[in-house]
């Protein structure tokens, strides 16, 4: 498949950033490092450095139109779904590799992407009340689709936001709208249980926008409109709330619409804050270690980011939604 050249802007940043990384100790390195630091907030500790910015607004191949969800595979390839309903696959440096569309987008577009344990792409087809499964090459696995019916009964959904799989291959699917809950399904897609509900009380949610699951099968939920993180031990029945933190605010440690979560494998949790236009790094106990990003349109600035992923080298890729691009940082 023919690859699309990056835009001038992208090339510029890539050349600058790449050279800086290689020429350690050089003046250029210092300049670029300072430039990268400009993107950090003044509040709290921060150690982020912008490494690469790529992507341009558009509907052409490799272009992005309000991208809203992102996932990364074991080859560090980025899967991005945008406002046109296209799922596009890029190399870690932003080179377009392939793409496809979800079956229907008239009602709305997907807003959640993740990978299951088999390496298939899991798509939260939000406005069609279902979860779709694709091979990494883009083949729809129709037989694996979960849901598709609007409602509050078992196996029915409202607006699906995300789906993850535990070590036992069970799926957890979050939704918001009227019901705001998490449903658990067997590996075969059969309903097992549900919990949550719309509200501010612990165990309830208002827009559980994203989930990740750790090695102990604890489900971490970004309870976006309650501006907090809730952690559930899903090995128990019903799942038990084991940890929670977060309150609304812009200071380090506070949250403003946490929309995406990622572990770095070294005991840190990264949270993408839609409302604060930043990424915040936490210990697993909720202690803020720093944040990166301020609202804006320049490189190093974010505008309502929706998602982030961490590649094998530990670099953070941020989906800068309203700037229609991806920014890669080293924290």
């Amino acid at each position: 498949m023919k690859s699309r050249p990056l835009s001038t802007r992208t090339q510029k940043h890539r050349q600058g950033g790449g050279a800086a990384v290689r020429q350690s100790g050089g003046l250029l390195f210092l300049l670029i490092a300072c430039w990268g630091l400009l993107g950090c907030t003044n509040e709290g500790p921060s150690s982020g450095r912008l490494e690469l910015t790529w992507g341009s607004r558009g509907v052409g191949k490799g272009q992005l139109q309000k991208p809203r969800a992102m996932a990364i595979d074991d080859k560090d390839q980025l899967y991005i779904v945008d406002f046109t309903g296209r799922i596009q696959v890029f190399s870690r440096d932003g080179e377009y590799l392939r793409g496809w569309r979800t079956p229907a987008v008239k009602n709305g577009k997907p807003s959640g992407l993740s990978f299951d344990r088999a390496g298939d792409l899991v798509v939260a087809d939000t406005h069609y009340f279902r979860v779709l499964f694709y091979t990494p090459e883009g083949k729809l696995l129709k037989e694996r689709t979960i849901g598709g019916e609007c409602g509050h009964g078992p196996g029915q959904f409202n607006f699906v936001t995300d789906a993850v799989q535990d070590s036992q291959d069970n799926f957890y699917i979050a939704e918001y709208g009227e019901y705001d809950r998490v449903q658990k399904f067997s590996p075969q897609g059969e309903f097992i249980l549900q919990w949550g509900g719309h509200g501010e009380a612990l165990g309830q949610f208002v827009r559980p926008q994203n989930m990740i699951i750790d090695e102990q099968d604890r489900l971490w939920v970004a309870d976006a409109c309650n501006h907090r993180i809730q952690v559930f031990d899903v090995t128990q029945n019903p799942p038990r709330l084991v940890k929670h933190w977060g309150e609304f605010g812009a200071a380090p440690g506070k949250l403003n619409y946490p929309y995406d979560l990622a572990f770095d494998g070294r005991g840190h949790l990264y949270i993408c804050e839609f409302g604060n236009h930043r990424v915040q790094k936490f210990t697993l106990d909720g202690e803020s270690l720093g944040c990166w990003g301020v609202g804006g349109h320049k490189p190093g600035e974010l505008f309502n980011p929706w998602a982030l992923v961490i590649d094998r080298r530990g670099r953070v890729h941020i989906l800068d939604t309203y700037n229609h691009r991806v920014q890669r940082i080293v924290l």
């Binding site: 009602n107 406005h127 609007c150 709208g177 009227e178 705001d180 208002v206 976006a224 409302g275």
Partner: protein, 1027 residues
């Protein structure tokens, strides 16, 4: 620099370069004291400074040539081209760009579609054109004409400057608006190349209904003859059989005049065919006659759009009244209509969901009454209806230009309370529909919450709806708009949010244009913000409208209950992008707060809904005092002839503000509320050629019930209606005829007096109203005795109305000028007259040679889906055009550099730089590098000595200035200096001879001065001692 050149905006300033040699000559002498090298440097710098000033004056620029090419495709989407070929054009563009666009050069492609006007579909950008099914611009593109001129102009304006430019015009060449040749020459002058892709039209038979001929004016019962002219342009001289139907339409009623199917069958011989119909009309009205021909074999006709033509005629009779009532409250004015009929007026009642659609329909009426009818009504998105802007414009033009009467009658859905504020109708009325009096508590507050981001063209529709809502509010009302832009933000007036409209309306509309609402995560924070603003606001009616695609998280129950407790209703508009799920949230918000819920699938319904909802805020304009009020007569208006007080009580009316205009006559007024300006019951004025009146209470259904028992009820309302009617007096001996030829309408007026003698030297003036409701003057001149002729262009499809003002008839009571009316119908656009490709035009366009480039090409081939390989053979991105040159002004930088050089010039001339330190430094370096001692040479020593001397001289100068009156000290130091020099001289060549003493005169003068001073000092001491 590679690819860069230098250019000048004002090259004639370069003549100043001739001054430079003169400057050299002058400077050579004046700078001789500087020494050889310094003079050379100073002169060079001076020359450079001068050169740079001249460059800056001539506005020097850096020019870069670019090989990049931008091609904009102009697609003719007019209806003269068959649909399948129009659709194939898009495929051609996509494939042509994909095949020929040079990616390395970063060529760009753009797309413009045109019909009656031109619209940009894809602005030029450096990528392939995405293959989309339907072009977005088609939604609003008028395709009933071909305007290539507009397309070329738009293309010229859309080209980026940094690339060569070419347009590829895909068309049948049948231009019927504008002059493309003139614009094309302009493009060639501007180095823009033109390629033409002619669309070959199939050669088939073509049938056209040329016209329906009727007398413009007729009288009741008069036999009428209607002639239908049809042309048959059959290629093979074939007779075409088909059905010809002639229908007559009066308002919404349509009657087929030749109902018998057998009588409808006609044979069209090649050439023109004329068919005549005889009939009679017994009721006065304006009738539209339409003829339509349908061939039995569709293959006999290429275009069906030109198979129908119409005309209208006015059959005069008694005064006719059109009473428009709210379709949701039908029957409220039945009593009034009945009473008017008894007073020998013909009254037609029209519900507001079956409104007139053309000016022609209004011509049959002498007065139009808007009877408690709101601008927008309906209970849900599918039933909500409104008066469109065009319909309001028709009502107003019908009065202003054609003299028809217009009366607005009250009820709770009329005037400001009916959402008529800030419309053209308000301008036509003798009162304003809003209260500008802060003492009257007629204030509403409206908050708009915007979240329709996923809807197609969501931002556009949000702006349209907000604009409608703001327009509907009065100056004393409050308005706020909440949207998501990173957080929930007020668009204006933050942090209060809700601000008075008064004086800010334009600013608000301006901000709306810049609004770009984002994807709001949840409703709750925004609703809580709005609630705070509502609670701080003193409005008597508070309302909120949320437009959303329904996917933000719902508000908390507590928030909704707080809204309910504060009696703030929230109406929600679901734009239906996410199916029923999103709607449930919005429906719940509306249900809990008592608002209205709308589910919209067609965004065009949104403005109607917003007009409807904004009416809620205008409720305080309704005045319903306990026990009612008894209005009084304040002016003896002719409408009130024979009517005297006391007038009956009325339970209420709608408050308005009397226009500050001497033409306004307020006839009846209520004693309450306090301000008489706002308590009008009946007011009238003359608006243009017509008369308008307002009656702010109703006609006896809800408020004026007592009036129906009143003996003067019939008299009052019939006199009001008759006063307002358009002049319907005897038309005398004027006759008007119209004739249309080559897109122009000729109007011929024949004027005779009572004795059938020609009326000469009359001052006739005409005003025409086109199908777009634009009015224009028609000059009418006398061409023969009693014969007056005027002419105007008619290039749009539809009806043209002409109003001719003639002097009042001799002896007539009505002193208003007589109005003579005429009209003409243009059945279809000239677009449907052309049947062949105008290849000559396209060949001419392509042959135009752009400046510094090659002429374009005519790209011949079949425009059909999947079969356009021949068209794609021509490379539309061929590099045979003048390269684009982008210019960058550098004169500011040149000036800056010039300023630096000027400083350097001054420095060189004023400051001497010693280089004595250089040799010792070199020696030291040599020492270091050589590793041994190197004896300083004599020159080095000498220079050190000179340095030493300079230092000592400097000290001496300082001391001299510090002890100016002690010359001995100076002498001493001088000796020391000589000693030093003598010491050194033993190891060095003889020092240069001491400079000769300066001329004695100044020395003597100095000594005498010093001695005089010493003497004066001694004298002073002496005097002191003596004392």
């Amino acid at each position: 620099m590679a690819g860069w050149e230098i250019g000048f905006v004002k090259p004639w300033y370069l003549l100043l370069l001739l001054v430079i040699p003169a400057v050299w000559l002058l400077s050579f002498k004046s700078l001789s004291g500087l020494g050889r090298y310094r003079r050379l440097v100073a002169m060079s710098l001076r020359t450079l400074v001068l050169l740079l000033i001249i460059l800056a004056l001539s506005e020097v620029q850096l020019l870069q040539k670019s090989k990049k090419l931008t091609v904009i495709y102009l697609l003719d989407q007019s209806q003269s081209i068959p649909v399948d070929q129009r659709e194939a054009m898009m495929e051609y563009v996509v494939r042509d760009v994909a095949k020929h666009r040079n990616i390395d050069r970063r060529d760009r492609a753009g797309l413009i579609v045109f019909g009656r006007e031109a619209k940009i579909e894809v602005p030029p950008f450096d990528d392939d054109i995405p293959a989309v099914g339907v072009l977005d611009s088609f939604v609003d593109l008028n395709t009933d004409a071909t305007n290539m001129e507009a397309a070329l102009k738009l293309a010229q304006a859309s080209f980026p400057e940094d690339a060569s430019k070419r347009v590829v015009v895909v068309t049948d060449g049948n231009e019927n608006i504008g002059d493309v040749r003139t614009v094309a020459r302009m493009l060639a002058e501007n180095e823009i190349g033109i390629d033409g892709v002619p669309i070959e039209l199939d050669a088939r038979s073509e049938i056209r209904v040329e016209k329906v001929a009727m007398p413009v004016d007729a009288r009741k019962g008069q036999p009428l003859q209607t002639r239908v002219v049809i042309s048959n342009d059959s290629r093979e001289g074939k007779t075409v059989r088909g059905r010809l139907k002639l229908s007559r339409q009066d308002g919404s009623r349509t009657v087929l005049l030749n109902e018998d199917p057998a009588s409808q069958l006609v044979d069209l011989k090649p050439g023109k065919n004329v068919f005549t119909f005889q009939h009679q009309i017994d009721q006065s009205a304006v009738y539209t006659f339409s003829a339509e021909f349908t061939p039995l074999d569709p293959q006999d006709d290429l275009m069906t759009q030109n198979n129908r033509a119409s005309t209208f005629t006015h059959v005069r009779g008694e005064g006719r009244v059109l009473l428009i009532e709210d379709w949701e409250n039908q029957g409220e004015f039945d009593y009034l209509a009945d009473r008017l009929r008894r007073m020998k007026l013909e009254v037609t009642v029209q519900p507001s969901d079956q409104l007139f659609t053309s000016m022609a329909e209004l011509q049959g009426y002498d007065t139009v009454i808007l009877a408690n009818v709101p601008r927008s009504s309906g209970s849900d998105a599918s039933t909500v209806t409104n008066f469109s802007d065009a319909q309001i414009a028709m009502l107003v033009r019908n009065t202003q230009q054609l003299g028809c009467g217009l009366i607005m009658m009250g009820g709770p859905n009329s005037f400001g309370a009916g959402g008529w504020s800030n419309t053209e109708l308000e301008k036509a009325m003798p009162v304003d529909f809003q209260i500008k009096n802060a003492k009257v508590q007629a204030v509403g507050a409206l908050v708009l919450m915007m979240h329709a981001s996923e809807m197609a063209q969501g931002n556009y529709w949000q702006k349209v709806t907000a604009r409608e809502a703001i327009k509907a509010l009065g100056p004393m009302d409050y308005c706020g708009l909440l949207h998501w832009s990173g957080t929930d933000n007020w668009l204006w007036g933050a942090p209060r949010g809700l601000v008075r409209i008064s004086g800010r309306r334009k600013g608000m509309l301006g901000r709306l244009d810049r609004m770009t609402p984002g994807d709001m995560p949840q409703f709750d924070p925004g609703m809580r913000t709005a609630l705070l603003a509502f609670n701080r606001c003193k409005a008597s009616v508070k309302h909120m409208i949320i437009i959303s695609d329904g996917d933000p998280s719902p508000p908390s129950r507590a928030t909704l209950i707080r809204y309910k407790a504060a009696k703030i209703k929230v109406s929600t508009v679901a734009v239906g992008t996410h199916g029923p799920a999103g709607s449930n949230i919005l429906q719940n918000i509306a249900n809990v707060t008592g608002g209205k819920y709308y589910q919209v699938t067609n965004p065009k319904a949104l403005p109607r809904i917003y007009q409807r909802e904004a009416r809620r805020v205008a409720r305080p304009l309704i005045y319903e005092p306990a026990g009612g009020v008894t209005p009084g007569i304040v002016y003896p208006h002719e409408v009130l002839d024979g009517i005297s007080e006391p007038l009956p009580r009325t339970a209420g009316f709608v408050m308005t503000s009397v226009k500050d205009n001497p033409l306004v006559e307020v006839a009846i007024r209520s004693p309450r509320p306090g301000s008489p300006k706002n308590a009008t019951i009946l007011a009238t004025w003359t608006y243009g050629l017509g008369r308008t009146a307002v009656w702010t209470t109703d006609a006896g259904h809800r408020w004026a019930n007592a009036w129906t028992e009143w003996e003067s009820y019939d008299k009052l309302f019939s006199q009001l209606v008759r006063w307002s009617m358009r002049p319907t007096g005897d038309r005398g001996k004027f006759t008007v005829a119209t004739n249309m030829k080559d897109g122009r309408v000729q109007v011929i007026v024949t004027a005779l007096d009572e004795n059938d003698e020609f009326l000469n030297f009359l001052n006739l003036s005409g005003t025409a109203i086109g199908p777009d409701l634009e009015t224009f003057e028609v000059p009418i001149r006398q061409t023969a005795p009693g014969r007056y002729v005027g002419e105007f262009p008619a290039d749009q499809q539809g009806s043209y109305f002409l109003n001719i003002l003639a002097p009042p008839a001799a002896g007539s009571k009505d002193t208003r000028p007589q109005t003579l009316q005429a009209g003409v119908s243009v059945p279809y656009s000239a677009e449907f007259r052309e049947q062949e490709t105008n290849q000559a035009l396209l060949t001419g366009l392509a042959a135009l040679k752009p400046k510094q480039g090659k002429a374009g090409e005519l790209i011949i081939g079949r425009m059909q889906r999947g079969q356009m390989s021949q068209l794609l053979e021509t490379d539309t991105y061929r590099p045979d055009l003048a390269p684009a040159i982008s210019a960058q002004d550098v004169w500011p930088q040149v000036m800056l550099f010039c300023a630096c050089l000027f400083c350097a010039d001054v420095f060189v001339r004023r400051v001497t730089i010693g280089f004595e330190w250089l040799s010792p430094l070199m020696l030291k370096i040599k020492e270091r590098l050589g590793g041994g001692q190197v004896e300083p040479d004599d020159d080095g020593r000498l220079s050190r000595l000179r340095n030493q001397k300079a230092i000592i001289s400097e000290r001496l100068d300082e001391r001299r200035s510090a002890a100016r009156f002690e010359p001995q000290l100076e002498e001493q130091d001088a000796l020391n200096l000589d000693e030093v020099l003598d010491d050194v001289g033993s190891a060095a060549p003889a020092p240069p001879p001491r400079p000769s003493a300066p001329s004695s005169a100044p020395s003597e003068e100095e000594e005498s001065y010093t001695s005089r001073l010493l003497k004066a000092k001694k004298d002073a001491w002496k005097d002191k001692n003596n004392e």
